[in-house]
């Protein structure tokens, strides 16, 4: 007979699948839920359940949205002549925290990584080109991570966009090598924006 009921076992297993959660933390979270009022668990369950139904990629920039467009794309005060290209939706939040950027975004969905079979076709590159070619975009700021894959991707995008007659710049790296944009602190990121260079 297992030591704890199967329902607890299952919850521990699910928590354990989350990034950054080890087996001990998973147990602690599960026992916390057990101790907390049942409504708290119900709220957590409901929040999780509605997640995928309510949220999808923004039709324009592929950040997360609950309407057709995300909050940033639907904000008329944002400068639509500037596009900041990032790898993942979370990177949008990192750039937003820096408070330096007033334009709109494009989420690539990753970076070039031949080892993982990720080439340009696996990223939203054509969609980016279409946006740049079709509108009044003046500048594209490439804010992929400063790791090997991010740098190679930035160079690749620079070459592809050069033909379209926009200014293409790359975040200047005060960023620590190998760091994820997501983990860069606000100050570093603000400095990186101020010092971006033409690509």
């Amino acid at each position: 007979m297992p030591l704890v009921p199967e329902a607890v076992e299952r919850l521990v297993a699910e928590f354990g699948r989350l990034p950054g959660v080890g087996p001990k933390t998973a147990q602690r979270l599960a026992f916390y839920c057990l101790r907390a009022p049942a409504e708290a668990s119900a709220r957590l369950g409901a929040a999780l359940e509605s997640l995928h139904a309510a949220v999808h990629p923004c039709a324009r920039c592929f950040f997360i949205a609950d309407g057709e467009l995300c909050a940033i794309c639907s904000d008329v005060r944002r400068d639509a002549t500037q596009i900041c290209v990032v790898e993942e939706p979370l990177d949008v939040l990192a750039v937003e925290r820096s408070g330096e950027f007033r334009g709109i975004y494009h989420v690539l969905g990753g970076a070039l990584s031949p080892m993982d079979g990720i080439g340009p076709d696996e990223l939203r590159v054509v969609e980016l080109e279409r946006r740049v070619a079709g509108g009044d975009v003046r500048e594209v700021v490439i804010a992929t991570d400063p790791d090997v894959e991010g740098e190679a991707t930035a160079f690749y995008l620079g070459e592809r966009l050069a033909a379209l007659g926009v200014i293409v710049s790359r975040l200047a790296h005060g960023l620590p090598a190998g760091a994820d944009l997501e983990y860069a602190d606000e100050l570093t990121l603000a400095r990186a924006f101020a010092g971006r260079r033409a690509l």
């Binding site: 031949p114 190679a152 690749y156």
Partner: protein, 385 residues
């Protein structure tokens, strides 16, 4: 340069604790400050013990790139912890590897005196020089061993170069994966320039750092050869980059490496791998102006190897101001009586600080050291004898 001015300070590992490391379930060893002789039959854990010390002080195993190899079979973590005493005070270093059962990814956690800190804080606290049996082929065998000697030094002594090296290895994997794919189905050619540019940037910095290191090591090695053999031959070491340049400055070397990548593109596409760059560079070892690998006798080659290792120890000693912990894994029994005697004398005279020697046989001629400690290893347990 004599050893007395090379290394005034020293560092030594005292208490060493292994937990779930290789074939050690749990073991604590108290090492002596000078010579430690670790004996035992084959496959008992002698090399694993040295590997543990190296894994801690270098923050990664010099023997495997797969950290999960280090965990005792069936375990999800392993730990190496050591009390290091230095002139500047004592500290406890620890490294722990943990495997996430879900993703099978291994993460590393390092600490000093119980406080978590980035791995680079451990590097250089206790400088080490490793001497493995395969190092005896340094002159004769292929270039990997010679590159490994340089990279081991850069990793410990030059954080900037070490960062470029790490990055270079990653780029090389990515670029080779891309070339492999290109050869197979011609897909992805437009992604290549970005990876080539990265390769040239970081590769150039690796090559320049290595070339600089070789010019610093060369006189030390030549001098050491003079101390080891009475032949009066002149030993020369020259960095030989695969792209042919002089490796004198970063930017020029980057341009040269880029040009070489362009020139050899057809060959790369045909073979599906990166054919130029620091991963193909070499160190030319010359004896009186001739290539040592063909012109030197067996005995001379052995002496050259020892001279290079002594140069490495002295360079570490000079750069860090601390005589390194030197580990010889089953090497002494491979040397003839005379070379063994000279090497041991030079180690005892200060080329090394603390020395860890493993052996399967009873070793003689170690009298130069004061206060040797002896241990016996048997299936993952260590006993002081």
């Amino acid at each position: 340069m004599t050893d007395t001015i090379v290394s005034k300070r020293s560092c030594a590992i005292g208490r060493l604790r292994l937990f779930r490391f290789r074939n050690y379930v749990e073991a604590t060893v108290h090492l002596g400050p000078s010579l430690n002789v670790i004996s035992g039959r084959n496959a008992q854990g002698k090399t694993n013990l040295l590997e543990a010390v190296a894994t801690l002080t270098l923050t990664r195993s010099p023997r495997t790139g797969t950290a999960s190899d280090l965990m005792h079979w069936g375990d999800e973590q392993c730990l190496v912890e050591a009390a290091v005493s230095r002139s500047g005070g004592d500290s406890v270093l620890a490294v722990r590897f943990t495997r996430d059962p879900g993703t099978a990814r291994v993460s590393r956690a390092t600490s000093v005196d119980g406080k978590p800190c980035p791995a680079r804080r451990l590097l250089g606290v206790c400088p080490v020089v490793l001497f493995w049996p395969e190092d005896l082929q340094l002159v004769k065998a292929g270039p990997e061993g010679r590159r490994r000697l340089l990279d081991a030094l850069l990793t410990q002594l030059d954080p900037r170069a070490a960062a470029h090296l790490l990055r270079y290895r990653r780029i090389l994997q990515q670029r080779n994966a891309l070339l492999h794919r290109l050869r197979a189905d011609g897909h992805g050619a437009d992604a290549l320039p970005g990876f080539s540019r990265e390769l040239a940037h970081h590769g150039a910095r690796v090559a320049v750092a290595r070339a600089r290191l070789v010019t610093q090591l060369a006189p030390l090695a030549a001098e050491a050869l003079g101390e080891l053999s009475s032949g009066g031959e002149h030993l020369s070491l020259t960095y030989a980059p695969s792209h042919g340049g002089s490796c004198s400055d970063d930017d020029t070397t980057e341009q040269e490496l880029s040009a070489a990548l362009r020139d050899r593109r057809p060959e790369e596409l045909a073979r599906g791998v990166t054919v130029v760059g620091p991963h193909r560079d070499d160190v030319e070892i010359g004896l009186d102006g001739r290539a040592a690998r063909t012109a030197a006798s067996q005995g001379q080659q052995r002496s050259i190897v020892l001279a290079c290792k002594l140069a490495e120890m002295r360079f570490v000693g000079r750069s860090t101001g601390t005589a390194p912990v030197v580990m010889l894994d089953d090497v002494l029994s491979e040397l003839d009586h005379e070379r063994r005697g000279r090497l041991v004398a030079l180690l005892a005279a200060g080329a090394a600080g603390q020395v860890l020697i493993t052996t399967t046989e009873t070793l003689t001629g170690l009298d130069g050291f004061a206060g040797a400690c002896r241990y016996t290893v048997q299936s993952g347990t260590v006993r002081e004898t």
